[in-house]
Amino acid sequence: MNTGSTSGEASGAGQEEPAAEATVLRMLLGAQLRRLREAAGISAEKAGYEIRASRSKISRMETGRVGLKLRDIEDLLTLYGVAGERERTKVLALARRSREPEWWTQYNDILPDWFETYLSLEPAAATIRSFETQFVPGLFQTGDYARAVTRLGHKAAPDAEIERRVGLRLGRQDLLDGRQQPRIWVIMDEAVLRRPVGGVLVMRAQLRRLTEAAQLPGVRLQVVPFAQGGHAAASGSFSILRFEEQDLPDVVYIEQLTSAVYLDQRADVEHYLEVVDLLSGEALSPADTMRFLEQVADDT
C-alpha cells in the first residue's frame, strides 16, 4: 500500500542510524536467547546443530548482528527447555517485531524513518523516562491537542493528511492499555501545562486527560514549576529508553525538526540520565504534581 508516496521522505531521513531499529530489537532478542541457552547449559555448537547452522551464526544472532527464522527460534526454545506458553510467546513476539511490519506501516506515507525507529523501540522498553519542555507527551495527548500540535508543523496540509498524522500519534496510545507496557516516567516543565495549544477549551480537556493519565498504573508524571529548577531551562526535550536486559544500553532519543538523534554510548547517555535524575529530584513529587495539575486546570 501507499507505494510511491514516500519519495518526499527519503531526502532528510535515515541519516543517523539506518539499521538502529532492527539492531536494537535483534539485540534484545539475541540477549534473551543467549540467556536461555546458557541457563539450559547448552553450547553454541549444539544450538547451531539443532537448526543446521554454525556456532558463529548462533553467536552473531545472539549479539543481534543477524536475524533468525521464526521456526528456528521455536526449535531453539524447545531445545532450551522453554515450554511455558507465556515465555515462548514473549520471545516469539519480540522476534516478530524485529522482522515484521508493525501497525504503523499503514502510515508509511507520512511516517519518517527516524520516527519509525522510535515506534519500534517504545513498546520494547521496560522504562521510558522523558523530559518535555513544550508539549504534552504524545502518549497522553487528546485528539484535539494532537490535531493542534500537528497543524503547527503542517500548516498547509489538507485535513485528510492532518487526520492521518493525528491517527499515527494516537495509535501509540494503545501501548498504555497493554499489560506489558513500559513504565512511563515523564517530567514536564510547567510551560507544557501553561501554553494553551489549540485554545483554552482544548487545553482544559488536555489537562483533565493528564490528571487521568497520572493515575494509570505504571505512569508517573512530575512537573518542574517555574519557581524551581533552573536546570529545566538548560535542556530541550528528550527521552531515555531503558531495556530489561542487563547488557542492552539505554537509548536516548532526541527529536529534531526533520530528523532524530539516537544515542547509546554510555558517556553520551549519562549526560541525559544526569538531567532526568537531577530534575526528578527537583520536580514536584508525583503526588504533588496531581494537585498542581488540578490547580492549573482550574486556572485555565
Binding site: W185, E270, E274, D277, S280, G281, P286
Partner: protein, 275 residues
C-alpha cells in the same frame, strides 16, 4: 582505620548533594547489583572495590537477598505489619514493601533516605498495594527527630515496628554516635518491635583487604566508610533479644535451600526483638 574528615569536620544532617562526579553509596550498590542507575564515578569506585576483594559484588547481592529473607521472616513469622526502612537505596527487584505486602497486603512501609536520587526513584517507582501504604522521607539517619516525627504520619508507634538499616551504618562514623542513633530509634518503638542491621565487617577477611576497600571507597566517594567488628556490631543490639542464628555473615542468616549464588561476603547482619 582510615582518617575520617567527615567526622572531624562535623557531619551535616541535610540531604546529600546530587553530584555525579563523586560516587554515592546507593549508586555503587546499584552497580554492584547489576543496575543501570549509576555513573562513571560510581563504577570506578565499585570496580576498585571488586579489584581489592572480588566478592564485593557477591556481598551486595547477598545483602539484597538478606533483605528479602528478613522481611519475609518479619512479616510471615513475626507478624510485623509496619516497617521503617532506613537507607532505602535505589529501587531494585524485591523492595521491602513488595516482599512484605506479598505476604500481608496491609503492611505499611516508611522509606527513609538522604540521597535525592534514591527518593526521586522511590517516589516514582514504588507502588504500594491498595490495602497497605508506603511513604518516603528525605532525612539523614543522624536526624532521628525528623525521621520519627514524619514516620508517625503513617506508622502507629503504639504497635510493633521493624526498623531495618541494611548496608547503612558503615556510612556513620563513631563520632556521629551510631549507637545512640540506633538506641533512640529503638526507644521510640514498643515491645515486640524488631531491629535488623547489616553492615561492612572489619573482621571477616584480612584487615589489609578491608583497608584497601575503604581506601577505594573513600577516595572517590561523597561518603566515608567505617567497617566494624563482630563485637562492635553486637553493641547495636544491646538490650534486645537476638533471633536465631544471631550475628552472622549476611549469606548465613537463615539461608534458603537452592541458593546458587555463592561466595564469602564481608557483611555482618543480625535481627533482634525488643523484649
Amino acid at each position: 582505620m582510615t582518617t575520617d574528615e567527615t567526622a572531624q569536620g562535623g557531619s551535616n544532617t541535610g540531604p546529600l548533594p546530587f553530584d555525579t562526579s563523586k560516587a554515592h553509596q546507593a549508586r555503587i550498590y546499584n552497580y554492584l547489583l547489576g543496575g543501570k542507575d549509576n555513573y562513571a564515578a560510581d563504577r570506578a569506585v565499585a570496580e576498585a572495590m571488586v579489584a581489592n576483594y572480588p566478592d564485593t559484588a557477591f556481598t551486595a547481592r547477598a545483602n539484597r537477598a538478606f533483605l528479602g529473607r528478613v522481611v519475609r521472616y518479619l512479616t510471615a513469622e513475626a507478624g510485623i505489619r509496619q516497617f521503617l526502612d532506613i537507607g532505602t537505596g535505589i529501587p531494585a527487584a524485591g523492595n521491602t514493601h513488595e516482599v512484605a505486602q506479598a505476604i500481608a497486603p496491609e503492611t505499611r512501609v516508611v522509606y527513609v533516605d538522604y540521597d535525592p536520587i534514591v527518593l526521586a526513584h522511590a517516589r516514582a517507582l514504588l507502588d504500594s498495594s491498595e490495602a497497605g501504604a508506603t511513604e518516603y522521607i528525605e532525612a539523614d539517619l543522624r536526624d532521628t527527630a525528623t525521621i520519627l516525627a514524619q514516620a508517625a504520619d503513617l506508622l502507629d508507634f503504639s504497635k510493633p515496628v521493624a526498623v531495618t538499616m541494611l548496608a547503612l551504618l558503615h556510612a556513620i562514623p563513631d563520632s556521629d554516635d551510631p549507637y545512640g542513633i540506633v538506641a533512640t530509634l529503638m526507644a521510640a518503638v514498643p515491645s515486640g518491635s524488631y531491629l535488623a542491621i547489616s553492615l561492612g565487617a572489619s573482621d571477616l577477611v584480612k584487615q589489609e583487604t578491608m583497608r584497601s576497600i575503604a581506601d577505594s571507597w573513600n577516595s572517590g566517594s561523597q561518603q566515608r566508610v567505617t567497617w566494624r567488628s563482630r563485637e562492635q556490631v553486637a553493641r547495636f543490639f544491646a538490650g534486645l533479644d537476638l533471633i536465631e542464628p544471631g550475628l552472622v555473615p549476611v549469606e548465613d542468616w537463615r539461608p534458603e535451600p537452592g541458593t546458587t549464588d555463592e561466595g564469602k561476603s564481608i557483611g555482618w547482619c543480625a535481627v533482634a526483638r525488643k523484649p
